[in-house]
Symmetry: C2
Subunit: 494 residues, 2 copies
């Protein structure tokens, strides 16, 4: 645990953030990311517990909107919100053996309280299956209670041994975990499809993130899951980031916590449980990465911490008055702020571009005379002059179009990175070009793990899985040359 | 740590909650509270870590609205949202000696992570002064950065040794903590007044809770505070519950974490720090307690988990169709649910009264014929019949009036409980009648603590403090008979 501030991570002082990013995203993605997190004031890494960070207002305001969008969708689909304790007794973990084995190296343990040694260690939840399901066992009685759909908004803790990166991999992160119990395996699989739809509605349509929703191969399942599904989002360096995952859990969980119901036929049966975990703080990283450019952030309208910035280009009472009138006009429909800082016009422009505000209104004396407004759209990086009277309808058009433009651009890039290949040399080539290789594979069950290891060793990439709607193989396994039983996607993983 | 479920705390099975409360609030408040928490499905106490509970949807939905109202007000007043780590190194705590002394008996400690013993113990935050201010020390440079107003929504942990009670006193609770740094002590005191206004706007005007905002006497200050202020809300048994507190911290914190700024005169000065802590889960307890009655909860419109329940009084297609049409009409303006359960009409009525839904629409075949609606207002417990066409305007009137009615009723009760007294016998009488005694007191500085101890010992009550706008004493100290230097309020504390 480093206790000293790390000079490499020093955040510049307040109000000194107008300088753009010093490296190109396309040339040095890693450094670009480090800089944008600091310069856009998203998080401060100098907190004195390793792997933990302070989330700053600009990211929190956006993540709160992300929570609100996601929770609205979950509630509409019948999930009820809960708040579970952060602490889980060690005994709960031990009830499902694969689960404890998978999480043990990552758990923070509470041993003492006040002056007392606790009789049993308590885990800071790394995930809450073993908290939820003991309560499911108490609550669920009959087939009429099913499906039992729940979720919680929570912070979770994992003692990551890999290098941490702000938002992408921290030792504490902020997520939603949805847990549902179902009468049958078929119902549980319907939930998996619903989760996939939710991921599309929220991550893609609202946050502008393209992804592929995979079923993970047998060797890459969640500890205690019978089947694991997950969305992969692509970074510009060609590495994929795992975003929401959904698991069809093995019935071991239902048995361990006695989550049973009396069916219509009068028989007691174990439920089938699914869990779905969108990590908001990690999804925020993808928003930054997918949309941002060398000038700074670009926010989709729906999750922008601020939607409209009004910038008087010099200190002048008439300009300020106009700014206030505009703010009053637009505020019922958007979040609007006036830049009252003492910076130069150029510095203000850079500032709001770094911050990714979708729409900026630059107010100058000439515009005032001519009853026009100079507006700047961050989605297109384009200035134009419009009539004063148009501003409300213009803003509403930008709200819609900018969201669509960011999505369209991200989709096109994502699709261009997927390449169909038929040999291991081509897999390597596709991966090294920063993409995802789509190819034939002998098996995604246990027997395919040998070929997966070859890919790992020789290309440093991973088999991400198969689509939920299975695709028909179009050739032999790219590694062993045996008959292809699956079409898989291969990529490097963040 | 009890690991077994406590039979006294057993929640009834799902869908078996229509029976009203078996004791009267006015006769056995404590049991009434225990029952309403269970029967309205607010929290389940059977989670297997002592003092921790599972918050159920009906409380979470309301508390989420409470968070949203409070955060909107804080943001409007210039507070910026942050998310700090849950873990605070022991060394941070030690930097302010009064603070560590005050909190040590209540702290949960993380000692291990994975297979490793940590080099330094990490506290599960009982409050976050020592996390915020080390960052303030890094961020604040100049008088231009002040006031520096922040807050976070967070869960906090205290190893309470007193008996826990759901929502009122748990070992994990959910709050907002606002931390601000100011240039001068005067500015800091302005913040205290602002916090008092915020408490009025949020707790009183939105949640319907009457309170008095006190300055606490010298012997009852927050560990590390120079002055402590807090709002007291009254339970029906005459005990007061401390709700948001605000502290003008001693400059020891600013010195410990080097929170300095360069003033206009070029000199480096220490800031004055204030912190304000509304505990949402505890405030929710007061909402339940202040407004609830023997039939169940009563929610102020603004924070009702559900605002309108539509109850078809029997299973009938025409009724259901009508219910759906009404839901479509009202949903843009309120949250509306149709009760599709198989219960009898009477059971449904009881259910929604227990749940405290402000407006219920009971749909029967005759009403349908006559184009009228039978509506039930929970604020007045009154049924009336209105014309179908009126429903939207009626609902909007109920939204406004029911909120006002609950506030008015609570205010009247609260005021009737405050009694002016001039002798210790009268203090005792007023307290035993379940009220708050307003009286003269020798001193609220250290020298008054002797008289306060007498009150504690002989009456089992506490000196809650003085109003911020100091009142003129109207007689001698009720205990020692010396000249009264303060008008204080005395009550029993929950």
């Amino acid at each position: 645990m480093a206790r000293k501030s790390n000079p490499q991570n020093e955040t510049p002082p307040l109000n000194d953030l107008n300088k753009g990013i010093s490296v190109r995203k396309s040339e040095n993605f890693s450094e670009w990311y480090t800089e944008i997190v600091q310069k856009a004031e998203l998080a401060d890494l100098r907190y004195n517990v390793k792997g933990f960070l302070v989330f700053q207002p600009w990211s929190v305001l956006s993540m709160e909107k992300m929570y609100s969008i996601l929770e609205r969708v979950l509630q509409r689909k019948g999930h009820k919100p809960y708040w579970y304790p952060t602490l889980i007794p060690e005994g709960n973990f031990k009830k499902e053996s694969a689960h404890i084995k998978g999480f043990t190296p990552e758990v923070f343990w509470v041993d003492e309280a006040g002056e007392n040694k606790l009789p049993e260690r308590l885990a800071l939840r790394p995930t809450s299956e073993t908290a939820f399901y003991q309560m499911f066992g108490l609550w669920i009685r009959s087939y009429k209670d099913l499906p039992f759909k729940t979720y919680q908004r929570a912070n979770v803790f994992r003692y990551e041994t890999k290098a941490t990166r702000p938002f992408l991999r921290s030792r504490e992160f902020h997520w939603v975990e949805a847990h549902c119990a179902h009468a049958t395996k078929e119902d549980a699989m319907k939930q998996v499809y619903e989760d996939m739809e939710t991921t599309k509605e929220v991550l893609h349509d609202s946050f502008g993130l393209p992804f592929i929703f995979f079923e993970r191969p047998a060797w890459d399942r969640f500890p205690g899951a019978e089947r694991t599904f997950a969305a992969d989002v692509l970074n510009p360096d060609g590495k994929v980031v795992q975003q929401p995952s959904t698991h069809l859990l093995s019935q071991e969980f239902a048995k361990a916590f006695n989550v049973q119901y009396k069916d219509k036929d009068g028989k007691d049966k174990f439920t089938w449980i699914t869990c779905y975990g969108p990590a908001i703080s990690r999804i925020f990283a993808s928003v930054v990465i997918v949309h941002g450019d060398d000038k700074g952030l670009k926010f989709p309208w729906a999750i922008a911490p601020l939607q409209v910035a009004i910038v008087p280009i010099k200190s002048d009472e008439a300009l300020l008055k106009k700014a206030e009138a505009l703010q009053a006009e637009l505020s019922p429909f958007a979040s609007v702020e006036i830049d009252r800082s003492e910076k130069s016009a150029g510095e203000k422009f850079n500032h709001w571009e770094m911050k990714g505000v979708p729409l900026r209104i630059d107010l100058g004396p000439k515009d005032l005379q001519n009853k026009v407004l100079t507006v700047f759209r961050r989605d297109l990086d384009k200035k134009e002059v419009i009539s004063e009277k148009e501003i409300l309808s213009f803003m509403q058009r930008v709200a819609k179009e900018s969201q669509e433009n960011l999505i369209k651009k991200a989709d096109a890039l994502f699709e261009s990175r997927i390449r169909d290949v038929t040999t291991s040399a081509q897999v390597k080539e596709a991966i090294e070009a920063g993409g995802i290789a789509r190819c034939n594979f002998c098996s995604v069950e246990k027997e395919g793990s040998y070929c997966a290891e070859v890919i790992e060793k020789e290309i440093g990439a991973q088999v991400r899985g198969t689509l939920l709607e299975k695709e028909k193989p179009f050739g032999k396994c790219v590694i062993c040359g045996k008959e292809g039983h699956a079409v898989v996607y291969i990529a490097r993983q963040y």
